[in-house]
Symmetry: C2
Subunit: 290 residues, 2 copies
């Protein structure tokens, strides 16, 4: 363990990161760079990968035994695929030996927060988080200490989550550079279905539409529009199934927009097409370029 500095003690001195990939690795790097913790334990299944993450200075220590690590942590952050978070949190919570806050970085929140609202030991509090940052790349080799800087992190308490724990988790994300928005898990899932999950589905469908013979004619427009379709298929299968109904609802609205474009085009309706494109441009321009 690194020696405590003369500066103010961080709120969570020992932090465990479960799943040291692009997100987990970036959280670890940001904690170390910004002094948001004193000691970062990376927890994963491959001792070899954890040793490499140590060697690169991403984490202070690697541990393959979740329970052994959990016992020593003040804060645990689950950065595993969304379909493995609930079981992982329950396993860790059973081992915790002191008051511990557990959060996550999962892209869906409803099911996870609902399941973890009950059944945890008294000393353990779970608060759902979702930092809106990432990449189509994976692995701590692509991690970056600045990944959360000026990005939004959504924190999703339920009615039973103690306010102190919510504040502490929000403060932690602030220390990593993020702006925190507090929302219910359900509101988060409805919004993210539209802003993240639907775009992923659409980008994938568009990439799949491209015939191999036309690849050399795909320029920057196509590349940008489909970039996220390079994301990991397993991760995204779990996200879609974990947020199925809101994604289907957003998809239905998107299919309605597509049908309006198709109809205007079929009818050679220049005024109608222009109106649809203008509405889209207003919406897109409103979110800026950053």
């Amino acid at each position: 363990m690194t020696a405590p500095t003369a500066q103010q003690q961080p709120d969570f001195p020992v932090i465990g990161i479960v799943g040291v990939g692009l997100i987990g690795g970036s959280i670890a790097l940001a904690i170390r760079q910004r002094g948001a913790g004193q000691h970062v334990i990376g927890i994963g299944r491959s001792a070899e990968r954890l040793a490499e993450a140590c060697r690169r200075g991403v984490i202070d220590e690697g541990e393959t035994d979740l329970a052994a690590a959990a016992r020593r942590c003040d804060l645990l952050i689950f950065c595993t695929p969304v379909d493995r978070i609930v079981a992982g949190v329950r396993e860790a919570a059973r081992a915790c030996g002191k008051p511990t806050v557990i959060t996550d970085a999962g892209s869906t929140k409803g099911a996870i927060c609902r399941e973890l609202a009950t059944g945890l030991p008294d000393a353990v509090t779970f608060v759902g988080s979702h930092p809106l940052a990432g990449s189509e790349q994976s692995g701590f080799e692509h991690a970056s200490a600045g990944l959360f800087d000026k990005r939004v992190c959504v924190v999703t308490p339920t009615l039973n989550t103690p306010a102190t724990a919510v504040t502490r988790v929000a403060k932690f994300w602030n220390e990593l550079g993020a702006t925190v928005l507090e929302m219910s898990p359900e509101a988060h899932d409805r919004a993210l279905a539209e802003t993240s999950h639907l775009p992923h589905l659409v980008a994938a469908a568009l990439a799949a539409t491209l015939l191999p013979a036309n690849r050399e004619l795909a320029a920057t427009g196509f590349r940008d529009t489909t970039r996220i379709a390079s994301g990991d298929a397993d991760l995204w299968t779990a996200i879609f199934l974990g947020n199925r109904d809101p994604v289907l609802a957003s998809l239905a609205r998107f299919e309605g927009e597509i049908a309006a474009f198709r109809q205007a085009l079929q009818q050679n309706d220049a005024a109608g097409l222009k109106k649809l494109l203008e509405t889209a441009k207003i919406s897109r321009d409103a979110i800026g370029t950053a």
Copy 2:
């Protein structure tokens, strides 16, 4: 007119750019930077804008009278919206006083090349072009001499286009840094419907689906996927209508992909979803990140 240099005389000494916006301005800058012409005349409707383009060093001279400019040019490049190219070329061709090659930078080629395959004076040859470069921005203020560097430019001769003119136009685009692909106008339109026009339509539909309340939750994935939806609505209305049937055909295939995703999600079919995402990832990974 600038004095001829001691170097080899360019193939087209005097070049007219009709429509000095992002594309026309970038062509002008590239010509001047690479010595692909000796004198660049910018042709447009606003004397004020042309004067500003001169002041910024984008063009050598501005001219609002298309016929007057055409008379002096060895090469004319139409960078106007696609629905104004045919009439502009006919007007310019009537004025040409010496052997002149005319090309364009339009995003659709079938209708334009079909209409211009006949009825031009003997001294004038039209060869369709489409440099696959651009931006959602507009105006010569955003022009760049390097816009065509290492990009593809499609040149679309018809059966009647003289081979010499095709070679000269191809060589011109090479001088601007582009790799030239020769295709029939119809093959171009089918391919670009898929790689450019469909992505624009999809990005616009996705941007239109975003509810204003969710804008602050739109992160990099959403931004990238919808970036091109900020393009000019008039320009794109003309492109869609100018390539209607191929766009509708690509759209039908895209809607089939979307339906497959919807069905897999409705049926909670994890294996099916994963397979769809993997196919999309393979397609996207194959076109790279450049």
